[in-house]
Symmetry: C2
Subunit: 361 residues, 2 copies
């Protein structure tokens, strides 16, 4: 048995233990990233049923051969109507209390399921599963390190080449080309390259705007490597900056550094957020319009959340971002982001770009 | 008022008419593609409430500036908890029968909504909205034509250059580079380049397998252009083919051509599927493991569906694919796909690659 397979059975066993606590005899997994996490299947559609004995993966004809190649220790059932097939299996196995992912299942699919399982107690799982993938194992951490190295190298290489006059789209595309050369499988999200007034939009789309002197350019970029994500943001400057711009950059850098220092095992994630927010003070905090960070892994946004309203507690083996920002509508914006791995007694930055202000003449 | 804005108010009015029929006084839109379709907002999160008077878009702080730039005629409400804000607005407006997209809303969000709207009748909408975007207007058709031209040109250019020895990943990447040079904003789905035995997987992932003589290579590729998708599949051959391979290609081509001929306004979509299936006959039909086609537009899979179990009827202004295939497990596979626009009395192919068998020596 390979190391990889051992992980899958550990993960399934961990989930089964959680279920026992809630007296649930099986759980239906619809979220494709959870399915990948629990059994290794990478197709775009399927349902996984985990109960007693071997898990069962329900797929349609498009994925039969692929599922045979990708997974072991899981029974594969090809079927035209997956929800119907799951319901039949649940009846056959006489499961009585069946959990499901209330976040992953659409309400209409829930109704389909409900109408076919009238004698079964369907149990809404949300928080029980939200942390399923939050603690990364060694194999996952190695892939995330590689992903982070690739994106940092790509951004570093582009910062050496970019000049005023490049458009946002050009810069984003050259970044992607560089990342792919360095081994990225794909990007982990549509890249943000937001220049000048566009940088005031935290989630700006790419435009044909040409970078000019006096601009901040927010570059928020990440790649996928063997299924795992990276996420890093650098804000670079062109030409001469105003004192207000320079001070704002230092303020965001300070917020980033203070938040990073606050990261420790056992503390509430909201505390890291409040450390960043405290640096901005009352005057600037209203321009920091999002949370301080988020977990990542198979998805670019997963548990934990680092925000004022988060109830999550930080634990060793979590991987998450620290990304405070300031956005002055109509003028400019700044965001500084690293991805970090929390260890027992320390915190390791996976992203590699130095966050000192870089000014390109 | 620009042409674009006129379309948005037409679309909203069309939806309001549908609602009146079901005595619904407002509808909550969660699907981001539907939100884009109905008001032009392109952010990644938001909720749109359409009732009497101006629609209201609920967004968080990340999108305030962007929403101001992108939309007109819609009231923008910035809020931290969007579901709560929608519920408050529904109470304020005294809506009593409120529709929602049961396919787009997760069951857990439905429960949140339900608990805040206990005095309101929540009405499940599925089929009423499934056709919302199925009929394309002139503006959409122009963008889809452009998208289809870009991807056809990219594939054509690559077929001129590719040689045995290239890997699937290399070919996919070169295709993407070419498409981006030609003006694609991004790809409409992860490209499929499946060679040799991998081509037997209808939805194969990219591998480092080198193309060799005797291979079929299935290239299923599409791009996004200003939000709209293209989708086309060519199967090309390398070196000498066996007679079985050549015959199979001709059979798939025949199924594709017969299905295309069958396309007409007013007929059931399932009839087009059965025309393709009939060509394969009993012996081969079990190797055709998916439906004959699907609509596309803002998403690469949308209404109508062309499959044996589809209840959709084809109408002028629908845009959809015709893509029969045969997949022989462990050996090879073939798929031939065009995207077509149905008109009143004819059918126009938007994709431009000729589907004659191409053999590269």
């Amino acid at each position: 048995m390979t190391r990889k397979n051992r992980n899958f059975s550990l993960r399934t066993a961990g989930l089964q233990k959680t279920l026992t606590v809630r007296k649930i005899d099986s759980v239906i997994i619809f979220n494709m990233k959870n399915i990948r996490y629990l059994c290794g299947f990478t197709g775009s559609e399927g349902i996984l049923l985990i109960g007693s004995g071997r898990p069962v993966l329900f797929i349609d004809g498009r994925y039969t051969t692929q599922a045979d190649m990708e997974i072991q220790g899981v029974k594969i059932m090809e079927c035209a109507d997956k929800v119907e097939a799951v319901a039949l299996e649940i009846h056959k196995k006489k499961y009585k209390r069946v959990g499901f992912e209330a976040d992953a299942l659409s309400h209409s699919r829930y109704r389909q399921l409900h109408s076919r399982l009238s004698r079964v107690k369907l149990i809404t799982l949300t928080d029980e599963l939200r942390m399923l993938r939050a603690l990364k194992d060694e194999n996952e951490i190695a892939l995330m390190k590689k992903a982070a190295e690739i994106s940092s190298s790509a951004v570093r290489s582009l910062i050496r080449r970019v000049k005023p006059g490049w458009t946002e789209k050009e810069l984003a595309w050259q970044l992607e080309v560089e990342a792919r050369k360095l081994g990225a499988d794909e990007l982990s999200f549509p890249p943000i390259v937001a220049s000048g007034e566009n940088s005031a939009l935290p989630h700006a789309g790419l435009t044909d705007r040409k970078i000019k002197k006096g601009d901040f350019v927010v570059i928020d970029f990440g790649v996928m490597y063997q299924g795992y994500c990276s996420d890093e943001t650098c804000t670079i400057a062109f030409g001469k900056l105003t004192d207000r711009q320079k001070n704002a950059y230092q303020l965001v850098k300070e917020a980033h550094d203070r938040a990073l220092e606050a990261v420790a095992a056992g503390i509430p994630a909201s505390e890291v957020d409040s450390k960043a927010r405290a640096v901005f003070g009352k005057k600037s905090a209203r321009y920091f319009t999002h949370g301080t960070g988020h977990g990542l892994g198979l998805e670019v946004h997963e548990a934990p959340r680092l925000s004022p309203i988060s109830g999550d507690v930080l634990e060793p083996r979590m991987v998450f971002t620290i990304e405070p920002g300031l956005y002055i509508p109509g003028l400019w914006g700044i965001r500084i982001e690293d991805t970090v791995l929390l260890k027992k007694n320390s915190c390791e930055k996976l992203t590699k770009m130095d966050k000192k202000l870089i000014i390109i003449e």
